[in-house]
């Protein structure tokens, strides 16, 4: 059986203006994608992303509203600085480039989320499974000099 990437989608609940898109994300998402709906992209703590990566995610997609289009005025601007730096930190510590991706949805664009997910899945397929920060795989080094 061919390998399918495990993806996590962190979605700001206001970023999909079209109810068809929201309905698709909530009910018809492929089984290998896990949806976590948050109040705003500013609500996404770097710990959420780290927990997703540690629990075996091959890729993490964060979707939020465009700057200046945030429902809460400025939530996405604060999260932009933090999450961008956090993704860079994980890359510095050895996570492959491109495993964490941000998609900013414009309210006018319908059907963008499907395209983004398909594109992201394709990219992750090329990178392959994520084994580094995955805690589901055992290590013998914990707690002592090996």
């Amino acid at each position: 059986m061919s390998w399918k990437p495990r993806l996590f989608l962190f979605q700001c609940q206001y970023c999909l203006a079209s109810s068809d898109d929201q309905d698709w994300v909530e009910n018809f998402l492929p089984k290998n994608i896990k949806l976590i709906k948050t109040a705003c992209s500013g609500r996404i703590s770097p710990l959420y992303i780290l927990n997703a990566v540690q629990s075996g995610a091959d890729g993490v997609l964060v979707s939020g509203c465009l700057p200046e289009k945030c429902h809460f005025k400025s939530g996405n601007l604060g999260s932009r600085r933090q999450l961008d730096e956090f993704a860079r930190q994980l890359e510095y510590l050895g996570l492959d480039k491109g495993r964490i991706k941000f998609a900013w949805m414009n309210i006018d664009e319908r059907g963008k989320i499907q395209k983004e997910i398909a594109l992201f899945e394709q990219e992750i397929n090329e990178i392959g499974p994520q084994r580094k920060f995955n805690v589901l795989q055992n290590t013998e080094k914990a707690g002592a000099r090996s």
Partner: protein, 312 residues
């Protein structure tokens, strides 16, 4: 090297004139090459005051335990003064209630390296300008002081105190030291190997957190029980999460004093992550800790014209 008697004189003066009610400084510890933080509240105690390369703590971490309206005198070196400035910006300390005695710092010594270099039981150690005189069970050894500086102090950019009320001793020339990436030239796999080798030795004692002046949260994310944000065990997931998120919370706030590394019983390297994050902040937002008296840390603020990386 600053004359210790000058510092003692100034500390005694502010206690006598009731400028402050206590002075935070160091006194000799019970073991050689160790000094311990001490609180002096009377002039007679001041004779115990000391300041040398074995004073490893960052005193700014101790200031939050005082009452907010109590007047405190602090003997602070470069990193301590920058930490105090950052804490004042974050509304954790009240600058008006602090009297800062600034002392230009010549670097903190790494007592672990010294005890490894001298293969005998060390009974006493003292500094004489650039030499280090170690008395041990088999005689005496003379070491070059500059070779035994702590890693963080070798890369120290600002040894001179900032914003002190009085500076005792001659200021040191602040040479421009470029940022050195410890993991430069390694592939992602090698970087991960290095990081996990370091992080997985962690025994989760949180000495780094207690030693850090910028870790002042009343409840740390690792102590939070409902919901449990990360594993609290000594496991791969738990130690990784602690080291990643601890460093991330220091982004643009870490003063690079190295107190966390000196406090660590497992000798885990930690500063390479915070140094990298601080360098990113400097390149992206032009922010450096302790440089400005009012500038907010980069994650406490935002601008519309930040980098456009997210938008595709």
């Amino acid at each position: 090297m600053t004359d210790i008697n000058e510092i003692k004189k100034e500390a005694a003066r502010i206690l006598k004139e009731k400028v402050v009610s206590q002075v935070v400084g160091f006194k000799d510890g019970s073991l050689p090459m160790r000094a311990q933080p001490a609180f002096f509240s009377s002039v007679t105690e001041i004779k115990q005051l000391t300041l040398n390369g074995f004073c490893v703590n960052n005193q700014a971490a101790l200031l939050k335990q005082f009452k907010p309206d109590e007047k405190i005198g602090v003997i602070c070196r470069g990193c301590e003064s920058r930490a105090i400035r950052a804490l004042v910006i974050e509304h954790q300390l009240n600058r008006e209630n602090l009297y800062l005695i600034g002392v230009p710092c010549e670097g903190i010594l790494d007592w672990r390296t010294i005890s490894r270099a001298v293969p005998y039981d060390i009974t006493a150690a003292r500094e004489e300008s650039d030499r280090l005189i170690i008395q041990h069970s088999d005689g005496e050894a003379v070491l070059q002081r500059s070779e035994y500086l702590h890693r963080a102090c070798l890369q120290c950019k600002h040894p001179n105190p900032v914003g002190a009320d009085i500076v005792i001793g001659e200021l040191i020339d602040e040479a421009v030291i470029p940022y050195v990436d410890e993991l430069a030239g390694r592939t992602a796999d090698e970087r991960y190997e290095f990081f996990s080798e370091e992080a997985e030795r962690c025994i989760r004692c949180y000495a780094c957190r207690e030693a850090c002046p910028m870790c002042y949260c009343e409840e740390c994310f690792v102590d939070h029980i409902t919901p449990r944000w990360c594993e609290s065990m000594v496991s791969k997931g738990g130690t990784h999460a602690w080291h990643i998120i601890r460093a991330f919370h220091q982004t643009g706030r870490c003063v690079s004093c190295g107190a966390c590394e000196r406090a660590c019983p497992m000798e885990i390297k930690m500063e390479y992550i915070t140094d990298k994050l601080n360098e990113d902040m400097r390149l992206d937002y032009g922010f450096e800790v302790g440089e400005d008296e009012t500038a907010q840390p980069p994650f406490a603020t935002f601008q519309l014209d930040d980098k456009k990386r997210f938008i595709n």
